[in-house]
């Protein structure tokens, strides 16, 4: 376990170095030592972009893990169960109704609609039979689709369809100093969830076991939903929707590190950060000097892993 963590950390470090060096503007390690321009490029663009990818990945992976524990289902995550779509709807409505609103206001409203969206999701899926675990993600997809359709209609009416694409397709090419810092809040929310790691692990054993152990079930669920909503709202506002991170990463980590969050949550955060950074890096390098959005890279990768999870060896639904 300790060796695996060390290897993961080294891999992440290598990714960070590569991310700092890769881009359209030329930059090699030697120039850094001699010219001030290189540092400026790093400080204003490369470092913010790298940090944004790391924070987004870590926060999304943790949010996905929390959602899976609350739903008692390994196949849900905020971006494919209506939370992300609700956040987009929130931003759209804010942009239409309060066009002059500052970014933190937009973010707060996006988080609020995201919270409402996840509450709606859990209100619906509570009624599903526990013997049909695959119904939960399917209902989530339909639910997200309905909210997405309503959003698209609203955007069409307000003549804002082109903005919609920015929020729907997450990518990091526009990340600059001064435009990504809200993501630290998302990272902080994910970090805070580690303080209740035990409570969240117990949540994963179900409502009855939670109540039996004297856990304030509603309060812990609500705290989890707030983390999910904050992470969804903040990432959608700053970089756009990135699907599958919250789905794939917790599942893969759970296979290796188990379900005791006190041990597995840090691994989940690290792996999520590495995945999103790697996807962003691949998007920057594959058709250099053009870029593929990180969300697209992860969408392709994530769909393949998801299928493997569903049909591959040792798949467990609930």
């Amino acid at each position: 376990m300790a060796r695996a963590t060390l290897i993961a950390l080294l891999a992440l470090l290598a990714l960070v170095c590569a991310s700092l060096l890769a881009g359209v503007a030329g930059l090699d390690a030697r120039a850094l030592l001699t010219s001030g321009e290189g540092w400026e490029l790093i400080r204003d663009s490369r470092l913010p972009r790298t940090l944004a990818a790391l924070l987004t990945g870590a926060a999304l992976a943790v949010a996905g893990q929390i959602m899976q524990l609350i739903a008692q289902n390994r196949f849900v995550e905020p971006m494919t169960a209506g939370t992300g779509q609700s956040a987009v709807l929130g931003i759209l409505l804010t942009s239409v109704l309060l066009p002059g609103a500052a970014l933190p206001v937009k973010m707060a409203l996006a988080a609020l609609t995201a919270l409402a969206g996840s509450l709606g999701f859990f209100a619906i899926t509570r009624r599903l039979p526990p013997t049909q675990p695959l119904l939960v993600p399917l209902v989530g997809l339909v639910y997200g689709g309905v909210i997405g359709a309503a959003t698209a209609y609203a955007a069409f009416q307000a003549d804002m369809l082109q903005y919609l694409e920015i929020w729907l397709g997450g990518e990091f090419s526009g990340t600059m100093r001064g435009r990504y810092e809200l993501l630290w809040l998302a990272g902080l929310a994910a970090l805070a969830s580690y303080l209740v790691a035990d409570q969240l692990s117990i949540l994963g054993l179900g409502e009855a076991v939670s109540l039996n152990l004297g856990l304030n079930y509603r309060q812990v669920v609500l705290a989890g939903l707030v983390v999910i909503a904050l992470v969804s709202g903040l990432t959608v506002v700053t970089v756009g929707m990135i699907p599958f991170v919250g789905l794939v990463v917790p599942n893969l980590v759970s296979r290796v590190a188990g379900d005791n969050l006190r041990r597995s949550l840090p691994v989940t955060a690290l792996a999520g950060a590495a995945l999103v950074l790697a996807a962003d890096l691949a998007g920057r390098l594959l058709i250099h000097p053009f870029e593929i959005p990180a969300a697209t890279v992860i969408g392709i990768l994530g769909a393949a892993v998801f299928l493997w999870m569903l049909y591959g060896r040792g798949s467990h639904a609930a």
Binding site: P130, L205, G258
Partner: protein, 250 residues
């Protein structure tokens, strides 16, 4: 003592429990029996505040359900529900360790750890301690959950059909362990049992429910009779006395 006073409960249109009043004294093994749908599990989950009380009152010692502190109750009463999440990748040791949660609230002491290790040994879980739950057989998993309820160290231990999916040997050894908890540690075990013969063999008292009402209550020899089986289960099964205990021939 658990004191149940005129508790009634509905789920939707269905009346599950009607005016149930019971006093469950401290110590011993008390079995809840009755046909499917009699309200046994509902009664158990109401005692363990897994569902809110609709009508009536339940007191656990001096604590009034619905008004007392959840954490304090979790140190007095433990329940093992019927359906538990079987696909968890928690290790057995972690799971049993969560049984101490009401005592340490996330910061286990050396004493908590020692109790967990002792429980692992007592329930023969030592060799399985580092295995994940989803890799265990049904019986092993059940044992792990019982061990978790055990380390919760409560005066009252409620179990909802713990013998489901257990083979003869596992079922007998679990019942023997519960018997021992009652005899040696003075704990009160309230257990929903489907098989009347396990109830007559291990329980001190059998409470029989039918249609949401208590229809028989007392020592096994008094309650389990051919007439009761006919009335409650609607089946004419002969009852013989073997070694002082009534045995239902099936």
């Amino acid at each position: 003592m658990i004191e149940i006073q005129s508790v009634s409960h509905r789920i939707g249109q269905a009346q599950i429990l009607t005016d149930v009043s019971l006093r469950l004294e401290r110590g011993g093994v008390i079995a809840l029996a009755g046909p499917n749908g009699a309200g046994k599990s509902t009664l158990l989950s109401l005692i363990a505040r897994l569902q809110p009380l609709q009508q009536g009152q339940i007191r656990v010692d001096d604590m009034q359900l619905g008004q007392c502190d959840d954490r304090a109750l979790a140190r007095k009463l433990a329940i093992l529900p019927q359906q538990v999440n079987a696909s968890s990748r928690l290790t057995v040791r972690d799971l049993v360790g969560f049984g101490r949660y009401p005592h340490h609230r996330g910061r286990p002491t050396a004493g908590d750890r020692a109790r967990v290790e002792a429980a692992l040994a007592q329930f023969d879980l030592g060799p399985l301690a580092d295995r994940q739950l989803e890799t265990l057989s049904g019986g092993q998993r059940q044992r792990a959950f019982v061990a978790m309820s055990y380390v919760q160290d409560t005066d009252f231990l409620l179990l909802d059909e713990p013998l489901n999916n257990l083979d003869l040997a596992a079922a007998r050894s679990l019942m023997a362990q519960l018997r021992q908890l009652a005899d040696d540690q003075g704990r009160t075990v309230v257990i929903v049992l489907h098989d009347i013969n396990y109830a007559t063999a291990y329980a001190d008292r059998i409470v029989v429910l039918k249609g949401g009402r208590v229809v028989a209550d007392g020592a096994p020899a008094e309650t389990v009779t051919a007439a009761m089986l006919e009335q409650v289960f609607g089946t004419a099964a002969p009852v013989h006395s073997v070694g002082g205990r009534p045995v239902v021939l099936v």
